[in-house]
């Protein structure tokens, strides 16, 4: 194994290892948030605006709530309610889909 015969070596070693641990912080930077909410119904865009504009979008059976940078399917008339149970989305690339009603709310 390494002979750490000198004190200076040990200091350098520890410094670099500490830097390695500290640089793990890069894994905790959150992914890109913000962006544009695009709601489509039957493949037609019915709403497109910044995610930071608070709005309640009503589309017949579905109600999409955009509030404080988060998008949630507030209610829907579909049977499985998967879209309603979906966690609020806030980052680019995320989407909530109501398949029976063909409503897609996504953040681009």
């Amino acid at each position: 194994m390494l002979k750490l015969s000198k004190k200076g070596d040990l200091i350098i070693l520890i410094t670099v290892l500490a830097a390695a641990v500290a640089s793990c912080a890069v894994f905790f930077i959150p992914q890109k948030s913000g962006g544009t909410v695009v709601i489509t119904q039957n493949d037609r865009i019915v709403y497109k605006n910044s995610v930071y504009v608070n709005k309640t979008v009503e589309l017949g059976d579905n109600t999409v709530l955009i509030k404080d940078g988060k998008v949630k399917m507030q209610s829907a008339g579909c049977k499985n309610q998967i879209c309603v149970r979906h966690k609020a989305i806030s980052r680019k690339g995320e989407s909530i889909i109501c398949l029976p009603n063909k409503v897609i709310a996504e953040i681009r």
């Binding site: 002979k3 000198k6 070596d9 070693l13 670099v16 390695a20 640089s23």
Partner: protein, 162 residues
């Protein structure tokens, strides 16, 4: 003067061979572009003799030749900037008390890897920084190993050269 040229020539040639041996096996499963950096051991020996200028010369020549011979000239930019920075770091660290070539090796490897990551970030974008922790840890291991090797060689040739 002639003695120095001969010495540097031998060191540069040996460094080239070390680089070639290294290129035969690949450690790329840890992170892309990761190397043992064995050729740096020669430069560490020169710094051990106190010959910083020689270390820079040998390293620069070695990097130029090895990237033209063994890999594409594209890697030249990566290696040259990283190599110069790491040689500078080794030289700087050697001034401190109580640092042997093992420490210089670790410092040099760490600086080399980080500078290479910076250059990679310019080309590939922000996501390369995820490699930093593992690169630093491997710098400790590879730099330590290279430093250890150069320490051994240094002790053997110390009396015979200067």
């Amino acid at each position: 003067m002639a003695r120095k040229i001969t010495l540097y020539g031998i060191f540069a040639a040996t460094a080239l061979i070390f680089g070639y041996i290294e290129s035969l096996f690949s450690l790329s499963f840890i992170a892309p572009g990761i190397k043992l950096g064995l050729a740096n051991s020669l430069c560490l020996i020169l710094i051990g003799f106190g010959d910083t200028k020689g270390a820079f010369c040998v390293n620069t020549v070695r990097i130029l030749l090895s990237s033209l011979l063994f890999s594409s000239p594209f890697t030249l930019f990566f290696s040259l900037t990283a190599g110069i920075a790491s040689t500078a770091a080794c030289a700087g660290v050697s001034r401190l008390k109580g640092v042997s070539q093992v420490g210089m090796g670790v410092a040099g490897a760490a600086v080399h890897n980080t500078v290479q990551l910076c250059v990679a970030a310019l080309i590939f974008g922000r996501s390369v920084w995820y490699y930093l922790p593992i690169l630093l840890v491997s710098a400790v291991i590879t730099g330590g190993a290279v430093g250890e090797i150069s320490e051994c060689i240094f002790k053997k040739i110390k009396t015979k050269v200067k």
